[in-house]
């Protein structure tokens, strides 16, 4: 029972990271049709932001804020330089563009900072644990769950209550119509990228706080999982992305905890095969995005 609860917390913590990354991908995809391969590099850049500000002697909390800012700046810069000229291009061209951007950024990280992991030392209290009713619970997973809930809550508020959020949801349904109504396309797209960057930054903060180092591939692997999560949830559907993220996080934690040792190395293969099996039954994902195509 204890172990189950423990694993549940781990699952929520990991799933939360995937959910935020997947949500960032889904927001951008739903508006401009871009599956952003370079999303992981936004997260990595956030990590390096934390690392560099600690090197320059900022206190840890300030460093985390700088990391968040770095991720947002990177997302906006990417939109301005690489993707704005491609607006309206087909999904494949956009995908390949982001693929290329991602490869270039990774080389820049390797040459500019280091090809090896660089350590980030947070205060020891952050990696401690506390006891509730005889159970040992880590501070970091708890914080990550809280931060995830807070981020998703804020985002829901922005999307449902603020004008820019409503414009973004409208853009996801019909971008051309929204532009005809006089809403500035660039502002909506930039806001979408900024939000996706912020979510990637939050993921970077949680990830580095738990692992204590940054390397050029840091964001890449979680974002691969987030891709799968967006497809599992239904490409372009925001709720689906969050759901997909939590499902994949949970599957990973469960397979890690309960798979026999002989099969343990095949964890990724098993999780992904399970996802593909789901897609065979529901090719449009768990919560498909609505579309209004007519024949």
């Amino acid at each position: 029972m204890d172990q189950l609860l423990q694993q549940l917390i781990n699952a929520l913590s990991l799933g939360g990271i995937y959910a935020m990354l997947a949500l960032g991908l889904a927001i951008v995809f739903s508006i401009v049709g871009l599956i952003n391969f370079a999303h992981g590099d936004i997260m990595t850049f956030g990590g390096y932001g934390i690392f560099l500000s600690m090197v320059f002697g900022f206190p840890p909390v300030a460093a985390l804020c700088i990391g968040l800012g770095a991720a947002v700046v990177m997302a906006l810069a990417m939109e301005r330089t690489a993707f704005r000229v491609m607006r309206g291009a087909d999904v494949i061209s956009l995908l390949i563009t982001s693929f290329a951007v991602s490869e270039i950024l990774k080389v820049l990280f390797q040459n500019g900072i280091s090809a090896r992991p660089v350590p980030i030392s947070f205060p020891a209290s952050w990696s401690g644990s506390y006891q509730i009713g005889g159970m040992t619970i880590g501070v970091a997973p708890t914080a990550s769950i809280l931060v995830t809930i807070l981020s998703l809550g804020c985002l829901t508020f922005v999307l449902r209550r603020l004008a820019i959020g409503m414009a973004m949801r409208a853009a996801a349904e019909d971008f051309d119509m929204l532009r005809m109504l006089g809403v500035r396309a660039n502002r909506v797209v930039a806001a979408a990228f900024a939000i996706s960057g912020l979510l990637a930054g939050v993921a970077a903060v949680i990830w580095t706080a738990q692992r204590g180092s940054v390397d050029p591939m840091m964001g890449f692997f979680p974002v691969l999982k987030a891709f799968i999560a967006t497809v599992l949830g239904g490409l372009g559907s925001l709720g689906g992305a969050v759901l997909g993220g939590f499902v994949i996080g949970t599957l990973e934690v469960l397979t890690q905890a309960f798979l026999p040792d002989a099969l343990a190395p095949y964890r990724d293969a098993i999780v992904l095969s399970a996802v593909i099996a789901v897609l065979l039954v529901r090719p449009d994902g768990l919560l498909p995005a609505r579309s209004g195509a007519r024949s």
């Binding site: 995908l95 290329a100 891709f227 293969a269 007519r294």
Partner: protein, 622 residues
């Protein structure tokens, strides 16, 4: 174009296709010759890897180019091929030391390369069929991401299955038994297979699905099966290319086939032009030259007295920049959307003449009748179609009219199973259509056109019609003749070699009807065929439809807003409003029906019309 030129079209197309294959091969052989002559041994090594890459990228393009779905999963096939061929050909002694825990049934074959390749082919075929059954169900970005999932799955298995692959360590001892002549021959073979497939029945089918899945399905093509064929051929070829790659490297690890390799191959394909085999070849050549030039710079060189520092990863950056420039400046790639070389309309081919083919007589239509019975469908509470029944018999043009939003197109979609009916049935001569998969409708000789143009934009006008005839089950020769017959009937002969998306609007509209007729239907459903046409074009279309209906005895259901057009053609008219049938009968009856007048003109006007009847002919003119 004269009749003779039109009749020569299939022969010219065949000739053009072979010239295009030769053009791709010429680019390849030319580059290999230049590399070996100018750079000697180094050039030979570069040429060898280039030929392996041509094989791999052509294999990749067989799927991506024809389906329009970018695959990131072909690294998985290459890994499979490389490890399988490596294990099969490895000397037994070396195998015992390198792979001591290899399962017995895998060990000790010591095959030659030519002995191993058939086994590798079968392994690749099996794996492609297995994975294709999943991938072929998905489209667009979802499919691309799931191929990425496949790559991750295979990569993690390759790392985990230590006893077979040595895990993430280097897998060594693979005999380097490929020479330039062998890989060049292999690359040639791959190019020819890819070209043959692209122009074949299944190649045309899958390209039609790529351009418009709904329209292709309505023609009787199963999109899943078409994609499965493409994936299976592509995966099998990629597995073989992987074996060649493995034997060229001699030692490799799972990372050799992961995102780095996949990225390089996708770049090569996109840079050259993803939609053609010639593009794949040109892309590999261009990127190979770029890579090798940059690789020399990577080690740091002295340029005009300034020593450039060593930059790690410069090749990756230059690949990234190359792909960005190509996508920004030439989105279709260096070669463009078409194959390298002339099209069937090229002047070069005007000397090829064709004999007038035996124009195949359309399959006879006798008394087939389409019955719609009580069809209903609602969307989220909105009743789009309620309990509509009528007949479309052979030999008659039946009109279906009604104001916008009356449910006319929905009705056609219900009959052709584009939507599932909530209740009611459509049947033809006792065979129920309702409940059939969409691509089985044409088996019962019911064809349709679409309200919004749905041509296969990447195919020529001729190929658009050809694909329809092939999908209806004709063999290639008959299909060619049928395509010529329909192009001729709709006066499209002069533009047979043009791409559908370059045609003027009126021609596109006619082409869509020609495409439907190439399927030899008994019942043809035309959804607003005259929409957007000018009066001359409309009259011309009316003449052609009347002739076809009389000559072939086809039953036509004609949906249109243009009442003059409908009145001229139809001897029987069904009127719908707000999802329900409100009147049915011959044009005079329908025109006099007060409900119809009300639906079209409104209640107030009806009351006034009763006081002072307007001239008869203009009563319902739009």
């Amino acid at each position: 174009m004269s009749d003779a030129a039109l009749h020569a079209h299939p022969a010219r197309l065949r000739a053009a296709n072979w010239i295009r294959t030769l053009a791709a091969l010429a680019v390849l052989i030319g580059t290999v010759v230049i590399l070996t002559v100018v750079f000697g041994r180094t050039g030979e090594r570069i040429a060898l890897l280039m030929c392996v890459n041509v094989a791999a990228v052509v294999a990749l393009a067989v799927f991506c180019g024809n389906t329009g779905i970018v695959s990131f999963g072909h690294g998985a096939f290459m890994a499979l091929g490389a490890y399988a061929s490596g294990i099969l050909t490895m000397p037994a002694g070396l195998q015992r030391s390198a792979l001591p825990e290899l399962p017995g049934w895998m060990a000790g074959y010591e095959l030659t390369l030519l002995g191993a390749l058939p086994v590798v082919l079968l392994v690749g075929l099996g794996f492609a069929l297995l994975t294709g059954s999943a991938v072929s169900r998905l489209v667009g970005a979802s499919a691309a991401i799931s191929t990425l999932g496949l790559l991750i799955i295979v990569h993690s298995i390759a790392i985990s299955a230590r006893e077979i692959t040595r895990g993430s360590q280097t897998f060594y001892g693979v005999p380097r038994i490929t020479d330039l002549a062998f890989v060049l021959a292999a690359a040639f073979l791959f190019v020819i297979i890819a070209r043959l497939y692209r122009e074949s029945r299944w190649g045309l089918f899958v390209r039609a699905v790529r351009d418009d899945e709904d329209a292709a399905t309505a023609l009787g093509i199963s999109p899943r099966r078409a994609r499965l064929v493409a994936w299976t051929l592509s995966g099998t070829l990629a597995t073989l290319a992987g074996a060649l790659y493995g034997h060229s490297l001699g030692a490799f690890s799972p990372a050799s086939f992961y995102l780095g390799l996949v990225f390089a191959h996708v770049v090569m394909m996109i840079v050259g032009g993803m939609n053609s085999v010639g593009g794949a070849v040109v892309g590999v050549v261009a990127v190979t030259i770029l890579q090798n030039t940059v690789r020399n710079l990577e080690g740091g060189i002295t340029l005009g007295g300034i020593t450039l520092p060593e930059v790690f990863g410069l090749t990756t950056v230059s690949l990234g920049i190359a792909i960005l420039l190509v996508i920004w400046l030439r989105p279709q790639g260096l070669v463009g959307g078409f194959e390298l070389g002339p099209g069937a309309g090229a002047r070069l081919l005007t000397r090829i003449t064709g004999r007038a083919p035996q124009t195949p007589a359309p399959r006879p239509v006798t008394t087939e009748t389409l019955h719609a019975r009580g069809l209903s469908r609602s969307f989220a509470g909105v009743k789009a179609v309620t309990d509509v029944s009528f007949d479309v018999p052979a030999g008659r043009i039946t009109g279906l009219i009604g104001p916008n939003g009356a449910g006319k197109s929905t009705l056609v979609n219900l009959i052709t199973c584009q939507y599932t009916a909530d209740s009611g049935t459509a049947e033809i001569d006792g065979v129920q259509l309702t409940g059939l998969p969409r691509h089985r409708i044409i088996d019962n000789r019911v064809a349709r056109s679409f309200q919004n143009l749905r041509l296969f934009s990447g195919l020529t006008a001729f190929e658009n019609v050809l694909v329809a005839a092939l999908a209806a089950g004709s063999d290639r020769k008959t299909a060619n003749a049928i395509a010529l017959r329909e192009l001729d009937a709709f006066d499209l002969g002069s533009i047979a070699a043009m791409r559908a998306d370059n045609l003027p609007y009126g021609a596109r509209k006619r082409l869509e009807i020609a495409r439907a007729l190439a399927q030899d239907p008994a019942i043809l459903l035309l959804d607003e065929p005259a929409a957007g046409m000018n009066p001359t074009e409309t009259d011309d279309l009316a003449d052609r439809l009347i002739r076809i209906s009389e000559d072939r005895n086809i039953g036509i259901l004609l949906i249109d807003h243009d009442l003059r057009f409908v009145n001229r053609l139809c001897s029987h008219i069904v009127v719908m409003n707000r999802g329900a049938k409100i009147a049915e009968g011959d044009p005079e009856e329908v025109r006099a029906d007060p409900q119809v007048i009300e639906a079209y003109i409104g209640r107030g006007r009806v009351a006034r019309a009763a006081d002072a009847p307007p001239p008869k002919d203009q009563a319902l003119a739009p």
